[in-house]
């Protein structure tokens, strides 16, 4: 074989069966993560057909989407949510699948705990009934979201039929300016190629700016690949990846680690390997980005103004913009940094890891949340929460007026009590600003953790780079 990409190496090593190269391949799945929302009907299907879970030892369940982020000792108030959570427990017991329930000390969002605990490793095929499974690609795995019928298929067979996707290299050029983050990089990409720009493709992120990102930042990048329509996002394993893996609780240790390490590093895309498409993004002028509309592509630098649909030449786009601005209650020409917000959410599988909280806390330290703003931090996992508390981040947040909550998806999708009221506007570190995502009539502005923190302090969207030069009051 000639030069191969990371994707190709993983793909070819997992083909169980394929009639002809242009037909769908039956892929072996190394890790199957499960959560309460997209699994009940799959277990039900198994039960009805009298099937079992083929490899419970490669399957792992967690409760995250529905769970309350307030006091866990109280019963869940929402009866239907409670039923779904209880059902996962029943299913896992019946089918022998390991479960990290509400009371497990390291419970958290599935895409946070997989990498954090070391369950996710380079070279694996990983699926979950959740589109943000792309997050795990940051460690050099091929990880993608599937629907519930496919969850059932993987449970029963540990395999999945897949058409081979195309590959896309996203090369970030130049250095990332001070005050900008991985979140801004991915928002800039989505703005550039659009929310369907990578449909049918697996993205690999390359370039020095990607190499210099920490693993947690790489996860932010891969996480939002789906927001550009991609099947998956991935990054070739390197020394940074190895250092991260070395300290995970469930990765191999000692000489086993050294063997694994050599294998993992060999998976990186070979020099000269070809991608079906290459997109280059220049980072020189990158600024903190913020969404102004109702999908992640509708974003702009914080220094810009709300765009004017009348200036848009494409009539279809113009009408979408009008619709979005009406929903968002925004007028063209308004400076983005003058938009007042009432809510701030720091969390989610995009930005709910320790480094995210650390960076937000640095902005907040010694300041106060503006009057009239309700701000919350929801750590991505029990471990993130414990670590954050050990280094005193919770104190910084609560002293500033933030709520410090229990781990879960929370306001990212508003399936539990954490929702916005109609018309309420948030600065949110999550990944989707769709209509109603954070509650019916809610208005979401996606930003980095630093920018969310800055908005909480200012009471409006603001450029974190200028905030940091002001003297805290």
């Amino acid at each position: 074989m000639g030069s191969q990409t990371l994707f190709e190496k993983i793909w070819h090593r997992h083909i169980v069966h394929q009639d002809t190269p242009d037909q769908a391949a039956l892929l072996y799945i190394d890790r199957h993560y499960i959560h309460e929302v997209t699994s009940p009907q799959a277990f039900d299907g198994l039960r009805q057909a009298g099937r079992r879970v083929r490899r419970p030892d490669l399957t792992m369940a967690v409760m995250d989407h529905n769970v309350p982020t307030s006091d866990r000792s109280l019963p869940i108030r929402d009866a239907i949510a409670r039923r779904q959570i209880e059902q996962l427990e029943i299913n896992c017991r019946e089918f022998d699948v390991p479960l990290w329930d509400l009371h497990h000390p390291s419970q958290g969002i599935v895409h946070i705990i997989g990498p954090e605990q070391g369950f996710t490793q380079p070279g694996m095929t990983i699926v979950c009934g959740d589109s943000h499974t792309s997050t795990h690609g940051a460690l050099g795995a091929l990880a993608f979201g599937i629907g519930t019928s496919e969850v059932e298929h993987v449970l029963a067979t540990q395999t999945l039929w897949q058409q081979k996707p195309k590959t896309m290299e996203v090369r970030f050029r130049g250095r990332r300016p001070e005050g900008t983050t991985a979140k801004d990089m991915i928002l800039a990409l989505i703005r550039h190629i659009g929310i369907a720009g990578a449909t049918g493709h697996v993205i690999e992120y390359t370039g020095d700016a990607v190499r210099s990102l920490s693993i947690e930042e790489r996860m932010t990048l891969c996480n939002m690949s789906i927001e550009a329509g991609a099947r998956a996002g991935m990054i070739s394993p390197d020394e940074t990846t190895m250092e991260y893996l070395r300290t995970r609780p469930y990765t191999p240790k000692g000489t086993e680690f050294e063997t694994a390490r050599a294998h993992w590093l060999s998976l990186a895309t070979d020099p000269g390997a070809q991608f079906d498409r290459v997109v280059e993004i220049d980072l020189e002028d990158l600024a903190p980005m913020v969404t102004w509309g109702t999908n992640p592509e509708m974003n702009a630098p914080i220094t810009a103004t709300v765009p004017d649909p009348d200036q848009e030449k494409d009539p279809v786009r113009a009408s979408m913009m009008r619709h979005a601005l009406e929903y968002m209650g925004l007028t063209p020409g308004t400076a983005l940094n003058a938009i007042p917000i009432q809510r701030v959410f720091i969390g989610s599988c995009t930005n709910g890891r320790l480094e995210d909280l650390e960076r937000a806390a640095r902005v907040i330290d010694g300041r106060r949340v503006a009057d009239g703003v309700r701000a919350m931090v929801v750590p991505g996992s029990g471990q993130v929460k414990r670590e954050a508390e050990r280094i005193g981040l919770d104190k910084i947040f609560t002293a500033a007026g933030f709520e410090w909550r229990e781990p879960g998806c929370s306001l990212c999708l508003g399936m539990n009590d954490d929702i916005l009221s109609p018309g309420e506007r948030s600065a949110s570190t999550s990944n989707r600003n769709f209509e109603g995502r954070q509650g019916r009539g809610s208005r979401t502005h996606l930003v980095s953790p630093e920018m969310a923190a800055a908005a909480a302090i200012a009471g409006h969207l603001t450029d974190v780079r200028t905030l940091s030069t002001e003297v805290p009051s």
Binding site: D30, D44, L58, N66, G147, A156, T157, Y250, M415
Partner: protein
């Protein structure tokens, strides 16, 4: 799964691009553990105002589209989450075919698991269907998966479409995908024999 051979029905035009799964079925309705009964929540925020009354402007609330079985929409239909509740809701509501210039990957795939046929047509064809469907007499189309054609009763619209042959076969036979794969159990087992797999630790 009910086999899909052909479908004749009224067309509902949903003239929006990037219809996301949060719109198709908002998350407050994802808590059910059944596979059925999601149709009542389809496009909930678009169909109903906050007090629960139907919004008369929304296409599916208009009497001539009530019985529609074919939905036609703008590009990138079904983007967003992987929730299969989206095809479940569309199917439960009565749709058997979705026509659009393009679909999001996971949604597209999920349709086939549920006997729902997604048809990709050039944007110009979709625009033409929108025009015809907006008429007072609703447009009725026949979608024939066997012949891979779409035609209107009166003959003013006619086209053919392409689709992956494997997916077509499975849809037409209404096959249980898992049952088929289980025929390859030996291949799976022998793959497992040669594949280096880090197991999850016991007693998590």
């Amino acid at each position: 799964m009910t086999p899909f051979i052909r479908q004749r029905g009224v067309v509902a035009p949903l003239e929006r691009n990037n219809v996301d799964t949060d719109q198709i079925i908002p998350k407050q309705f994802l808590k059910r553990i059944e596979r059925t009964g999601f149709g009542q929540f389809l496009f909930f925020d678009w169909r109903f105002s906050e007090d629960g009354t139907p919004k008369p402007d929304f296409i599916l609330n208009q009497p001539q589209y009530r019985s529609a079985t074919i939905l036609v929409a703008g590009e990138n239909f079904g983007c967003g989450s992987s929730r299969e509740h989206a095809p479940w809701a569309l199917e439960d509501f009565g749709f058997r075919v979705i026509i659009a210039p393009s679909f999001a990957d996971i949604f597209y795939n999920n349709c086939f698991q549920n006997g729902l046929l997604p048809v990709t047509l050039p944007a110009s064809d979709v625009a033409r269907i929108f025009d015809l469907a907006r008429n007072e007499t609703p447009l009725s189309l026949e979608v024939d998966l066997e012949k891979q054609t779409i035609s209107s009763e009166t003959g003013e619209f006619q086209t053919s479409f392409s689709i992956d042959p494997e997916r077509r076969r499975k849809l037409m036979q209404g096959l249980d995908a898992i049952g088929e794969t289980l025929l390859l159990t030996d291949a799976i087992a022998s793959f497992e024999g040669n594949h280096d797999l880090p197991l999850l630790p016991h007693n998590l």
